[in-house]
């Protein structure tokens, strides 16, 4: 159960979304525009960034559900590596810059951000990709705080996340997903 009475026993952000549908609608619309496009960054790369930032923030629910969606697109091995913050030679140079940028935004290290963006642009990463990476990182700093700041719970059963991720990837996206 969450630290406030949400009137339901749903896990993670879904408990809060069922409690406050007005804000849920806007939050789902935001997740949709951030994560469900293949322009610049692919859907899989966007989910990996969401998983990475959620793991850095220690948010169990978010890293597991977005990790499950990332697994759907990118496979389990890469997703686990990202969740464990192992940024090594198995990661494409382009994605290494984007993970570094996301981590710098998560920690809000201004001087690092400026240097990383300078080098990322030299490596051919576009402004739109930089923009979207910064906004995905910033947005998951919001989602993670919302989920953990109200003490929602994250179930252990991995199948729950896998099933939900499949539904998001193949059917509803975020815009049309329902909390229950």
């Amino acid at each position: 159960m969450a630290w406030i009475d949400t009137g339901n026993d749903l896990p993670g952000i879904r408990s809060l979304m069922a409690y406050r549908p007005d804000t849920a609608e806007a939050l789902n619309a935001l997740a949709e525009v951030l994560l469900r496009k293949d322009e610049g960054l692919s859907k899989g790369e966007r989910e990996l960034l969401a998983t990475y930032v959620s793991a850095l923030n220690g948010c169990h629910f978010c890293q597991r559900i977005h990790g499950a969606v990332a697994t759907y697109y990118c496979g389990e091995e890469l997703t686990l590596q990202i969740r464990n913050n192992i940024i090594d030679d198995n990661i494409s140079p382009r994605m290494v810059w984007l993970f570094r940028l996301a981590a710098a935004v998560q920690q809000l290290k201004r001087s690092n951000i400026q240097d990383i963006i300078f080098l990322a642009r030299q490596a051919g990463i576009t402004d739109i990709e930089i923009h979207d990476t910064v906004l995905i990182a910033a947005a998951f700093c919001m989602f993670n705080r919302y989920v953990d700041g109200l003490g929602t719970f994250a179930p252990d059963d991995p199948d729950l996340y896998t099933a939900r991720a499949k539904k998001i990837a193949e059917d509803t996206g975020y815009q049309l997903s329902k909390p229950s």
């Binding site: 406030i4 806007a26 710098a104 201004r110 402004d127 910033a138």
Partner: protein, 184 residues
């Protein structure tokens, strides 16, 4: 100079919303629901909370505009508002608790936040008020990191902030005709 090439000379969030128009509707809708719609949290208190969280996150451009809006809505001087953002001890309860909870969320001090929530619940603070304080603090952490992550610098003066704050205080964030209106 921002870290990416942005069109025109729009201030703060307006430049980013113009650059990536698809993100404007959900962000403005969130702002409108959380900051403007009827709630047990007075509108001026919500703006003060936004300014205090932005101060805790060292985002001058967000604390500037939302502090100016809080000043207009509360009828207090801007200087008083910014003083409360760094030292809230003279504020009444539960406003002081709202700010303390908001800062705990900004800093990811969730155990501290849990204790503040428990204290608020003992004193009978409304559940939706607690929910909204946490979500407002989380949302402003997004804005602060977004603006600072892209290196936007505020070129505003006290007068230009007051003018924009006045417009937002009167009209809110949600605009059907033009997303460049409103949000900072």
């Amino acid at each position: 100079m921002a870290h990416i090439s942005l069109p025109g000379e729009l201030p703060g969030m307006q430049a980013l919303l113009a650059y990536r128009p698809a993100i404007a509707p959900p962000l403005l809708q969130l702002m409108q629901v959380l900051m403007r719609e009827k709630s047990v949290l007075p509108m001026a208190d919500r703006e003060l909370l936004a300014a205090a969280v932005s101060t805790a996150n060292h985002c001058g451009s967000c604390s500037g505009i939302h502090g100016a809006i809080a000043a207009q809505l509360s009828g207090k001087p801007v200087g008083w508002v910014h003083q409360q953002c760094v030292d809230d001890t003279s504020l009444p309860q539960p406003l002081q608790q709202y700010l303390a909870l908001g800062k705990a969320i900004a800093h990811r001090e969730f155990r501290v936040g849990q204790r503040i929530i428990a204290a608020m619940q003992l004193e009978g603070v409304d559940t939706q008020a607690i929910h909204d304080v946490v979500l407002i603090a989380s949302l402003f952490t997004l804005f602060n990191k977004y603006i600072d992550g892209l290196g936007l610098e505020s070129k505003e003066t006290e007068a230009s902030l007051a003018e924009r704050a006045n417009h937002i205080a009167k009209n809110g964030y949600h605009t059907n005709q033009n997303h460049q209106d409103g949000l900072d």
